[in-house]
């Protein structure tokens, strides 16, 4: 295999375009990044930034009709783009698994949760009924569900949101995947439950030697739990780098806007928030320039006419897409 063993996932020039009544909608455009083994990477963006579509395209879970995917996704040496569903089916669960955003809708409401875990074990690993049940109960215990053998027979409706998300994680882990895609895994949950789930994911990642892609709109979620961050805007990567660089040495004005417009617990009460005007753009009506230019305080004519490509920043592995980048303010704090 031509892939270096450290790189579990290599995404190269990946684009996902939906055919809609209003024309082609480029939900993800020319995205490239890679992921090491045992690494956690964060993908951050607002709604419509393409982060969810990106995570599904990487898995090959995009809808089957009215969609075009180009580029390449190398997952542990296997190309995912352009392959058949049955080929991808062989990788789903064992190589890559997914934790979905809303635990209320991602479990089958009329199937007992035990059966939903069993199914994977029996179909994918060919386990016997008894073995699968025993393993399912182990998995429920692993994700911290109290009295797992009783919960095995519960329907999803009988569990709280936090418990359901634990079950979703148990299903994802059933066949010991090497890569876990977590798409907004804590968005609908309360803060205290969110902390529990994020800690659980961290702990399981270490125990099971997984890599994790953590997709979220919440910078707080990725700040302390990822080594690198991808910032997305209007379907493109606008900045990518180590978590520290993105937070402290960001060069793209949008990254700064995202950081500064979110209120912080450490702010004094009545702190005036820094806002950016407008809202994320309509992907059907993108201009040829930088997508952020209409909202950007630093935008020049060039920004409106020509799209900036990702360029290397001072720190290794840190790039940004901007014609008028912010000056480096806080110096090099990368360790």
């Amino acid at each position: 295999m031509s892939v270096t063993p450290e790189k579990l996932l290599v995404v190269n020039d990946l684009s996902t375009t939906f055919a809609t009544a209003g024309g082609p909608l480029p939900a993800v455009a020319n995205v490239s990044f890679d992921l090491m083994r045992n690494e956690t990477i964060g993908i951050v963006g607002e709604s419509g930034s393409g982060k969810t579509v990106l995570s599904r395209t990487i898995m090959g879970l995009q809808p089957r009709t009215n969609v075009t995917v180009t580029g390449s996704v190398l997952l542990n040496g296997s190309e995912m783009v352009g392959t058949t569903e049955s080929f991808k089916r062989g990788l789903w669960g064992t190589e890559v698994a997914m934790v979905f955003q809303d635990p209320m809708t991602s479990l089958n409401p009329v199937m007992r949760i035990g059966k939903q875990i069993d199914e994977t074990l029996r179909v994918r690993l060919g386990m016997s009924k008894q073995d699968a049940k025993a393993r399912a109960i182990e998995l429920l215990e692993l994700v911290g569900i109290p009295s797992p053998s009783q919960r095995y027979d519960a329907f999803p409706g009988q569990l709280s949101g936090g418990m359901r998300q634990r079950v979703v994680i148990a299903i994802a882990l059933a066949c010991s995947p090497k890569l876990l895609m977590a798409d907004e895994p804590t968005t609908g949950l309360d803060v205290t439950i969110q902390a529990q789930i994020l800690n659980l994911l961290d702990e399981l990642k270490e125990r099971l030697h997984m890599s994790v892609v953590l997709v979220t709109h919440d910078l707080g979620v990725v700040a302390t739990r990822t080594s690198r961050i991808v910032v997305m805007y209007a379907g493109r990567i606008v900045e990518i780098g180590s978590t520290r660089d993105v937070f402290a040495n960001h060069r793209m004005p949008y990254t700064r806007a995202l950081l500064e417009s979110s209120p912080k617990v450490s702010n004094a009460s009545h702190t005036r928030l820094i806002t950016i005007p407008g809202r994320p753009p309509n992907l059907l009506k993108l201009t040829q320039g930088c997508s952020f230019a209409p909202r950007c305080a630093y935008a020049s004519d060039k920004c409106h006419q020509e799209r900036p490509e990702l360029q290397q920043a001072d720190q290794p592995g840190h790039s940004f897409a901007c014609w008028n980048p912010l000056p480096i303010t806080r110096g090099d704090s990368a360790s």
């Binding site: 800690n199 302390t224 009545h270």
Partner: protein, 326 residues
């Protein structure tokens, strides 16, 4: 700006019970607080703690089971349901809802939505009404000439929330209840709305009850903050002081679980275990005791009453965390 001496709204022992008999759920189990004229009181808590129900009960959208709600000396709980007096007093207190899109009728024009309270009460009409509506729309950043005649279904979440704010201000209310008004919005839009709210509060001399689950958002807008758990207020105090030195163990856990967008912030491995008990069958004594590491027998037998730990800072706990100020 803040007249902290005169309470605009006095809430005493407010209870809301849904259902009857075995299935009764006390969503709000005895809540008391004051909101002073010109201040913003933040009401924060996790889902199911009763914060939204409290907000709705204050407007009597949800019927309180007992307790009193006094606005400027009038007890709302004594007014006849559906009566003119109750409808009238609602013009002095307004509410903004969580889901911006569902809070506007998709089949009505923006202008008519904003004018709805005026048309209900027929305070002004004709040209005067149109001028006021245009003025309100401009104030919230929507160009009345361009967008006034559009239907509500054509607007995005942030814009719908602006229209909702314009509508709520039409009758010049004194109190605005904001129920999770920014939680459905993207961060960049959320910041715009929060700033707009602060500006309008100053301009209209509003008093706010800001209900939200997001601790950072609540702190950013509030003068004082009340923390709810399982239908009761466990701590209330000045925003900065409460966040800096929480006296209730629950508040401390809640703040510890809040994620800071800062790679250097510590990960709290000490997270709150378990999940809140069912409000159908709440624990005896202190409602937090089943998850509290400091709970003793006293907590199981006696319900803690609110006690003052610092001026204006009250906590309902038998063993409040010590407050040390620098």
């Amino acid at each position: 700006m803040t007249d902290t001496t005169r309470p605009l709204l006095k809430v005493r022992d407010l209870k809301v019970i849904f259902g009857k008999g075995h299935h009764a759920v006390s969503a709000v189990a005895g809540v008391s607080f004051d909101i002073f004229e010109g201040e913003t009181l933040g009401l924060v808590g996790e889902s199911g703690c009763g914060k939204s129900t409290t907000g709705k009960a204050l407007m009597r959208i949800v019927e309180p089971s007992s307790g009193s709600i006094e606005l400027d000396g009038t007890d709302l709980t004594e007014l006849k349901r559906g009566g003119r007096q109750l409808r009238n007093i609602r013009t002095r207190m307004q509410m903004i809802f969580q889901d911006p899109i569902s809070s506007l009728n998709p089949r009505r024009r923006v202008k008519d939505i904003v004018a709805e309270p005026l048309d209900c009460w027929k305070t002004i009409s004709g040209h005067e009404r149109d001028v006021l509506v245009s003025d309100l729309l401009s104030k919230v950043g929507i160009d009345p000439a361009v967008y006034g005649n559009r239907y509500a279904r054509q607007f995005s979440g942030g814009q719908c929330q602006r229209i909702s704010i314009a509508r709520s201000l039409a009758m010049r209310p004194k109190l605005l209840i904001c129920d999770e008004m920014v939680s459905a919005l993207d961060v960049s839009v959320q910041a715009q709305i929060l700033n707009l709210l602060e500006d309008l509060k100053a301009e209209y001399g509003l008093t706010l009850l800001f209900i939200a689950h997001d601790l950072a958002v609540v702190k950013n807008v509030s003068d004082r903050v009340a923390v709810m758990y399982l239908g009761k207020i466990c701590e209330i105090g000045p925003a900065d002081a409460l966040y800096e030195a929480p006296a209730h163990p629950y508040t401390k856990f809640l703040l510890g679980a809040a994620l800071e967008a800062d790679p250097d912030s510590p990960i709290h491995s000490q997270v709150l275990e378990g999940e809140p008990p069912s409000p159908m069958n709440p624990p005896s004594g202190c409602r937090f005791r089943t998850r509290c590491p400091k709970a003793t027998e006293l907590c199981a037998s006696d319900e803690p009453l609110a006690q003052e730990v610092a001026p204006g800072h009250q906590v309902a706990c038998h063993f409040p965390l010590s407050i040390t100020r620098k």
